[in-house]
Amino acid sequence: MTASSAETRTVKTPDELKAWAADVAKKNKEDAPVVIRVSMGTCGIAAGTTPILEALKEQIKLQGKEGTVKITQTGCMGLCHSEPSVEVVDVEKGTSTFYGSLTAEQAPALIQAGTDLAPGVKVVDKIWYFPEEEENTNGAIQARVVLRNSGRIRPELIEDYIGTGGYSGLAKALTEMSSQDVIDTVTESGLRGRGGGGFPTGRKWAFAAAQNNEQKYVICNADEGDPGAFMDRAVLEGDPHAVLEAMAVAGYAVGANQGVIYIRAEYPLAIERLQIAIAQARECGFLGTNIFGSGFNFDIDIKYGAGAFVCGEETALIHSIEGKRGEPIFKPPFPAIEGLWKKPTIVNNVETYANVCAIMRKGAAWFKSIGTEKCPGTKVFALAGKIKNVGLVEVPMGTQLRDIIYKIGDGIKDGKAFKAVQTGGPSGGCITAAHLDSPIDYESLRALGSMMGSGGMIVMDEDDCMVNVAKYFLEFTLDESCGRCTPCRIGNKRLFEMLSDICHGKGTMETLIKLRTLSETIKDTALCGLGQTSPNPVLSTLREFRREYLEHVLNKTCSAGVCSSLIKFEINDKCVGCTMCARNCPANCITGEKKGKHVIDQNACIKCGVCYETCKFHAIDKK
């Protein structure tokens, strides 16, 4: 699949766009009756989708099914727990089956079966299916607005996007609405920034629109930095045109004719697909001059990040685009007044933009019908950690955490006990079992001492030490602090040292008091969002898991068995001398005769826990 094989047309009017969409729909109906969509996002490829794709292609040839089975390469389907995965679509009936955990050996059965159920291949649980139409959400926990095309269309072919109604939102905005109408629609929809802060998008646009300046900018923040989130990458890899279309809509609304996508250099596949998409959009006339004959001009540039979490903060991001160190500055002035190159600028994140096209197409009332009153719409989460079904999940706002973890995620791995779920990444906090019935929205999560963040959702079980988790996030912030303001640069360093002391058994009750006081000081005094939220993981674990901190400080133990200074492994009398532990020990510190009790040399032990995990006789105690 290359860009050159894509069909493009020059589109000058909304009617031409409609005609193209109708042609695509007709072509899809008449094409092969069976379509196999292969999930080819970065994650799918990492999990080994490429050999599956080759095997499927080969089988189609071998079984002579070139005319009846068509293979398409799509973006991420979100089924991380079942990669490599494919979707087999019955084109006539409009139904589909998802198969997961595929091996190349299963390709013959899959091609043979066509739309019938392929024997011996894992079928993905129905709860992970998305209805084909967004409205049709009866009974389903998941709803698809942002990820509507991801995993469904071929991201490198603009005609697939056109076939789903692509660019009709832009057409409507440019030919039927005034700039003010667009802003009013977005304001009325109640859409709030999905990057984490939750600022009303319409209001942000209105600020920038009110500026009397010839040059304004529209920026897409694709510098996804939360170390446990990848939904923006899924959208960029699976549905890049949605972002371009929405940016053009935003440009029209605020009076900007230049867009910039600021993307992480670590996302090469997303960059490649964006470049292809931009070239196609220019060729078709969706970017460039006089779009849809409206006189509106708009173009988009890509700028690359270079690995700095703080560049997710909008003023830091703007500095980075200007080629400077990505340090944030004090607001106001807000970027909507004085942003990129000192011109009025709006910065929205990928997921926010992905919502905009749907709102333009279907209206504010439709959008408000999803989610809650204060937080309409959906939110995408990257569900991961100690959960059975890891994946990208999109749910209406207001969904309970319990439903996500136990229904969609199917509960905790290996029968362990749930301990906490962490949202908001390094700026968020841990939510305990007592609060699992809370609805997910900006306010509820904040009330629980966490935050929405960009959408990482990490589940932890009884084997996770919460002090160590807090230390992990602090280490991240420490690494990513730009060093501009003292509370963040030095304060977080001190917090990290205190947490390290506690994990090494050197903490006292005084350390705990200092930990809280300093955390609150940093929260109140740091310059930007990164610093102000950096103590959140500490404060939330201190509050919710005080017992664990006390245990580390008073008893010098770590009941989760994580903090290596506080634990030791010993072999008990259940040892039968199978030598399994000795053979697996990477430090070679276990000795003993075959069929005799083994001994661990405590001085050489690196406390990696391999013996504990490999022993089949419960002969190793973790103390």
């Binding site: 994650c43 990669e83 170390p227 990848f230 080629g323 990257a382 992990y472």
Partner: protein, 174 residues
């Protein structure tokens, strides 16, 4: 490639790699660089990406070359390189071993894997072995969370890594 003298940008890297220099120069010349230094600065990060792409790292001579081309000061170029973790001014090993330190991998024990790799290679995170064969580093979420913990060696992904697998991974690098 050792330093012949101690003056700025005299490490000889540009002279030793004329093709790489030519490629970088052609790239920067294709950008609309003018006399407006603020505007030129907007092209700095992408130029550095290109430079690191062709040279593998950003030695002083390359930094100076980029600075002169964009008409900005070397100190600014260095300021940017030292700020962003993607850029490095020291050469990296043939095998870049990166352990995912994203949250999902962390809760599934990626730190143990990092410790184990570090023990085997005798280097710490962010360092390169003396024979320039291995570099060890951390990596933020690669998005293969179902395979956690994940280790990447150059472009190859290893999933569900356990401390016992470390030796195997290193053996694969032969």
């Amino acid at each position: 490639m050792g330093k012949s003298c101690s003056c700025i940008g005299c490490d000889g890297v540009l002279e030793a790699h004329p093709d790489a220099k030519k490629e970088l120069e052609a790239y920067i010349d294709s950008l609309p660089i003018g006399d407006d230094i603020d505007a030129n600065r907007g092209y700095l990060i992408q130029s550095l990406h290109k430079a690191q792409d062709v040279f593998g790292y950003l030695p002083e001579s390359v930094q100076l070359f980029v600075a002169n081309k964009l008409k900005i000061h070397l100190s600014e170029v260095y300021g940017v390189i030292s700020f962003y973790s993607y850029f490095t001014d020291v050469p990296v090993g043939k095998y870049k071993i990166n352990v995912c330190t994203g949250t999902a991998c962390f809760v599934r024990g990626s730190m143990k894997i990092l410790d184990e790799l570090s023990r085997h290679l005798g280097i710490k995170e962010g360092e390169t072995t003396e024979d320039k064969r291995f570099s060890l580093g951390g990596l933020r979420c690669v998005g293969a969370c179902s395979l956690a913990p994940v280790v990447m060696v150059n472009d190859k992904v290893y999933g569900n890594v356990t401390p016992q697998m470390v030796q195997e991974i290193l053996n694969d690098c032969e």
